[in-house]
Symmetry: C2
Subunit: 535 residues, 2 copies
């Protein structure tokens, strides 16, 4: 699956798919002879998304596939760039662009699927100044949405609890085809079990699900449209009049429930019978095209009982409107009643799928209320991340020619932390202690500049080298492996940081050494600019 | 440009990029021998996005390119589908899939770029039941986001007024690479002038813009990094010591403004000089990396005055943080002062670009306040459509085998309007009257079922056939043509419907004939289902 994905990297992230200023800056660096200067950028975001206490880091695999297939400037690219850049651009610059590659780029990164926090440097990109600058937009584009939608999926998973299965079905509401595919991949990684997106199943091995839509139900008008009306059974040489059989069951179901046969939709029954003939082992219709209680549920029971009589196991129903909890309880009650009354134990294991514009809030509410829903499908709010549709990862210069660089903005939120860093996570005593504890002094970010002392039970170094000399140096994880990583990474996090509303914030701090560097640079910056007076 | 885009349609919308239930339904139709039945679906949305009074219809071109390249089921697709569909699926179905094409599909549609409203049927898709069902997800995916982001761009344009130029720069915040490309295309169509996305310039002919980021500025530390320090001038055999020249101007600027030279950032000056050497005709730096008033603006003026002295025309500045209005006024004041003091008329035509997390609200506010901003760049809020990140177009069955079909839901909002339709727009006397007026009776949707009489000055039939027998029957419009269509279409709409807040709603109504059909079907549906009693 990694290979299938890889084939389309050049098509998916063409070399011109970047902001123009990356090229104008590359030219200016080249013109000043600075393009080969060693430089280091780092990627981080300033706030956890959705008002949450954590985020998940995703998109690294896509970045590595992109880097591996870089450079890719072909004639038409260069011709177009020439037409866009000012006419006085030195033609030799385009030869430089054609010769570009990532053989001098090194990436150190947290693993894909890690729990991360605001201000943690996720990825460090080291290499020639012009090259690592050129990578900015593509890397941000590949990480921002992947991490956002993965984090969103993890929140839906936390809201849903661990028992229910979650189905992603947002393709039609995503930002076009590739947005939908990306959503399917990273929501699976974030904790969803299934997708409706067949291509995501094909490329990433995600289990796919789906049966019928309302249009299938409304396309039928009468039982005359059912064909073949006489169906071969599981047993050779035995044919079944499926319609008579179903009608018989429908009569018994109506009697059992005291239902009015006059309100039952014939077209809906025809659709269900027809679908059952096509997929007798996979019968799971949507039952609210007209009325669940007056028609859909009765029709389902009739067809499902007929299937049971023929030796098949119907699967369940889907509810797509109204109060899902209340309806699911009623549906379950009827299933149990049928099971007892008609002695069909299969009816005890029917599943109920709920899909109705589910948001994180309605998921959490649903999880608190009594209900009988086994599978929940989420589309719009999952893939578009309604609560916060962008993450805001940034890519900032932290070192050039071995000198730490820092943006000292008038807006303190926009200031950066200079220099290359090692990123540690300190684990407390509730986790297995692998290292003897020793006390560290560190300076929480966003605090009042005072220090705190911590004695971790274990210290983990979070980043490792994943790309060196044009090569990916760690095996690329499958979606399933990264999905497992997400769950294990989330398990190391205390529940107070995982609360969906008003979580406790996780402390991200600078070491004493890094803190001293930052202080020194701020001091320098107030004194190193008097060249004008000296001149 | 259409051709370049077309090449990647198969790659962009692969045949498996759809919801699984499209295949399971197609199989069930096929199994029941109904797959060739003539059917009609229509596409519409139920609410105008962003609480607005209108929307724009976009994505049609992409749909047509997709339909033209359909079918595309290759061996690996079919193998995967076999592995996903239930094992009892008849193998002959896969032969049917391989033979699928759109030669029997007809599309009638509003033109791309039209102003549209909730409940207006945008596109009608007619063809064999199984084929037109299979198209659902792809067509919705191509129309939903395109229309949404195009409408969003039009609202930003309305908020900004017509004088300012608008730059789209959201690639890094979109749903991955293709989401960003789609955003660039459709925000241009919706009214943006420029994009930062080079690939969008390449594919769609959108003017691209961009110069430098903060990282370029912070990568410089001292004037020693500027190279070549002695620059060839416009005139042959004349070399200029650009640094001395700039320092001289900086001293004069500081004197003029009473500024403290000690607060000026040498690295920033070095960056500006370096960029000016690379692009003397295109000098437009970002001036708030440190402090606009204490450093960035002074450095800009010094370099720009040096460029003027050398016979070049500097372009302007970019502000990327803080109160853009207030700063732009101060910057303009300084430009005017320099122009007068140093007699450089070029300083009267410098442009100010503002970029700082602009939303529709902040754009509207900015437009009300005094300011001197000429170009506004918008990223996140534009491409992610923060206010409402999905449109919710749906695709509903309205006719099978010549019989109108209708979903009569318990939720009236979810009911559909049966039957094929002709879509008219009635224009009033403020528009040129081409037809003699005659009085019509019609029934507004969402009303109390009462009729209204209207005497339009002109009646326009909105939809036309755009796809027939596998061929696109109308010329595909370029982005520029569709962009013009958007503006002319918006001009026919009364301002009260274009208000961004609490607009008057535009009436969408059924004709008497269609209204009668709907009433009849609702009546029928209450009486035609007594088959169980009769049996």
């Amino acid at each position: 699956s990694v290979c299938s994905n890889q084939r389309s990297v050049r098509e998916r992230v063409p070399p011109l798919l970047t902001d123009l200023y990356q090229f104008t800056m590359a030219y200016a660096y080249w013109r000043a002879g600075r393009h080969q200067e060693p430089a280091v950028f780092e990627m981080f975001f300033r706030d956890n998304p959705f008002g949450g206490g954590f985020s998940l880091f995703a998109g690294l695999n896509d970045c590595l596939l992109f880097l591996r297939s870089f450079p890719v400037f072909v004639d038409t690219d260069v011709q177009f760039l020439r037409s866009v850049l000012p006419p006085n651009t030195d033609p030799a610059f385009f030869d430089f662009l054609r010769g570009l590659d990532c053989s001098a780029v090194t990436i150190r990164s947290l693993p894909e699927g890690s729990v991360v926090f605001a201000r943690v440097p996720l990825m460090e990109v080291e290499g020639p100044l012009a090259v690592v600058q050129l990578l900015e937009t593509s890397l941000l584009c590949l990480v921002n949405y992947a991490s956002l939608v993965c984090s969103n999926a993890a929140r839906f998973r936390l809201a849903a609890g661990h028992q229910r299965r979650l189905l992603e079905m947002g393709l039609r509401r995503a930002q076009g085809p590739d947005g939908g595919l990306t959503a399917s991949r990273y929501t699976h990684i974030g904790g969803f079990d299934l997708t409706s997106n067949v291509q995501a199943g094909f490329l990433f091995g995600i289990p796919v699900a789906g049966t019928i839509a309302h249009s299938y139900v409304t396309s039928f008008n009468s039982l005359e449209e059912v064909w073949p009306q006489v169906t071969p059974s599981q047993w050779p040489h035995v044919s079944i009049d499926i319609i008579s059989l179903t009608k018989g069951w429908l009569r018994r179901v109506c009697e059992l429930m005291g239902a009015e046969p006059g309100k039952i939709r014939e077209g809906e029954l025809a659709a269900f019978v027809s679908y059952a003939i096509a997929y007798p082992q996979n019968f799971l219709p949507v039952i609210d095209s007209y009325s669940v209680g007056c028609s859909g549920l009765l029709n389902f029971c009739a067809v499902a009982l007929a299937l049971c009589e023929l030796g098949y196991k119907p699967v369940g129903v889907r509810l797509d409107s109204g109060d899902l909890c209340r309806q699911s309880i009623e549906v379950r009650r009827v299933f149990r009643l049928c099971s007892e009354q008609f002695s069909v134990s299969t009816f005890n294991s029917l599943i109920i799928v709920g899909t109705n514009n589910i948001s994180e809030e309605s998921m959490a509410e649903l999880n608190k209320k009594e209900n009988e829903i086994n599978v929940i499908g989420v589309g719009t709010h999952l893939v578009t991340c309604t609560k916060q549709p962008s993450l805001g990862c940034v890519y900032k210069l932290v070192e050039v020619r071995g000198r730490p660089r820092m943006k000292i903005s008038e807006d303190p939120q926009k200031s950066t932390v200079a220099g290359r860093k090692t990123v540690y996570r300190l684990l407390d005593h509730t986790h297995p202690a692998l290292l003897a504890g020793c006390t560290l002094t560190c300076y929480p970010l966003g605090g009042d500049n005072s220090s705190v002392s911590v004695t971790p039970a274990q210290v983990t170094c979070l980043r490792k080298e994943v790309f060196l000399e044009g090569q990916v140096t760690e095996p690329l994880c499958s979606a399933a492996e990264t999905r497992a990583k997400v769950q294990s990474s989330l398990q190391t996090l205390h529940p107070r940081h995982k609360r969906l509303q008003e979580p406790d914030s996780y402390t991200v701090a600078l070491s004493e050494k890094l803190r001293n560097l930052v202080t020194e640079l701020q001091k320098d910056s107030n004194s190193d600019s008097n060249f004008l007076l000296a001149n």
